[in-house]
């Protein structure tokens, strides 16, 4: 009896994840399809991302339909960037001569973007406060 209950529990759990994986794969697939059809340099994942967002927004997909699998995929995403970054070895010869300018650009642009986005947001928030108060 107990064993049967346990088995049913495991079965339900398994089916739940199959369904979650299926939904996520479906949106990824639709994204790939759109990326093939639409002649814009937009990654397939962005189409899937927008479609999934809209589906959540109109309620066609519920948070609980994907939450565990989505959280798992997002939290483990970092490992997917290791191999692409290691590939820098094969471009080393092309990048090495421009290393100093690259560093200057990376550092300065980070600070500039930080300042602009923060200050513009803050200015808008204060303007909104004045209107309301």
């Amino acid at each position: 009896m107990c064993y049967n209950q346990y088995n049913n529990f495991l079965g339900a759990l398994f089916l739940k994840y199959i369904k979650q994986v299926l939904i996520i794969l479906l949106f990824s697939f639709l994204g790939e399809l759109l990326a093939k059809v639409i002649p814009l340099p937009v990654p397939a994942a962005i189409y899937g991302f927008v479609l999934l967002f809209l589906s959540l927004f109109i309620g066609a997909v519920k948070e609980t339909d994907i939450s565990e699998t989505a959280t798992f995929l997002i939290s483990g995403m970092g490992i997917l960037f290791v191999a692409p970054a290691v590939n820098i070895l094969s471009y080393y010869g092309l990048i090495a001569p421009a290393l100093v300018p690259i560093c200057i650009i990376v550092v300065s642009s980070t600070f500039v973007v930080f300042g602009v986005s923060g200050l513009v947001t803050q200015a808008f928030l204060k303007k909104g406060d004045k209107k309301n108060g």
Binding site: S28, I79, A85, I88, F114, G118, V120, T121
Partner: protein
């Protein structure tokens, strides 16, 4: 040694997962933002490849077995975005304007600086999407003829810069509003900056993760317009 390891088809994957796990341990043990698990895994993997003299092509072929997961994982980012938009509805206009201003500035500033320092087109394309999350930036760069690996490296360094200098920059620019701090961290330094935002406060964290998602989408839209000028 190299030949023996190259013959093991699962060695590249094991190396990737093993070094990444070491990265996670280091991050957990010392709790320092400098210890990004991706960065540690990349340095260790490159070390092993160079030391053992493994062919890079063999490593890439073996390790790319999990790369197909990138698309579904990026698609899933819609879920946290959806959750945060519900919370932040009221301040959405200010947040969106800030992100838009920051993202356009990023692309124009980097483009101008690349031209000024006379970098070639491929390097320029690789650096343009450096403030957004790796999932989008790397693919954008590669699709347009950039080096995906340089983009990835620039993105990780940018993230750590924002994370480390975040509090200092908030003081420097006199950002006192939690929402403005979150927008700045998320727009300038994506996921890694968002970890710092979460340390500053829950509101900063939520705004920051919203910003990194929207900055990514805005970049996808503006990026083709900018590289049109190359």
């Amino acid at each position: 040694m190299a030949e023996f390891l190259e013959g093991l088809s699962l060695f590249p994957l094991a190396l990737t997962f093993g070094t990444y796990q070491i990265g996670l341990w280091c991050q957990k043990k010392w709790k320092s933002p400098l210890l990004n698990p991706i960065l540690i895994a990349v340095v260790l993997t490159i070390g092993v490849i160079l030391l053992c003299g493994i062919d890079l092509q063999v490593y890439q072929t073996g390790a790319s077995g999990i790369s197909w997961l990138l698309t579904p994982a990026t698609v899933c980012l819609a879920l946290p975005l959806y959750k945060q938009i519900k919370i932040l509805k009221k301040h959405l206009p200010a947040i969106l304007t800030g992100i838009l201003a920051g993202t356009v500035t990023s692309l124009v500033f980097i483009f101008a600086l690349c031209k000024l320092l006379s970098l070639d087109d491929a390097l320029t394309i690789s650096l343009l999407p450096k403030s957004i999350t790796t999932a989008i930036g790397m693919v954008l760069s590669e699709q347009s003829g950039g080096y995906g690996s340089l983009t990835t490296a620039a993105i990780i360094i940018t993230g750590n810069l924002g994370n480390l200098a975040g509090s200092m920059l908030c003081k420097l620019f006199r950002l006192t509003e939690p929402i403005a701090q979150g927008v700045a961290l998320g727009t300038a330094s994506h996921v890694v900056g968002t970890t710092r935002a979460n340390e500053l406060g829950e509101l900063q964290g939520a705004v920051s993760s919203l910003s990194l998602a929207i900055a990514g989408i805005v970049t996808v839209i503006v990026f083709p317009l900018v590289i049109h000028f190359i």
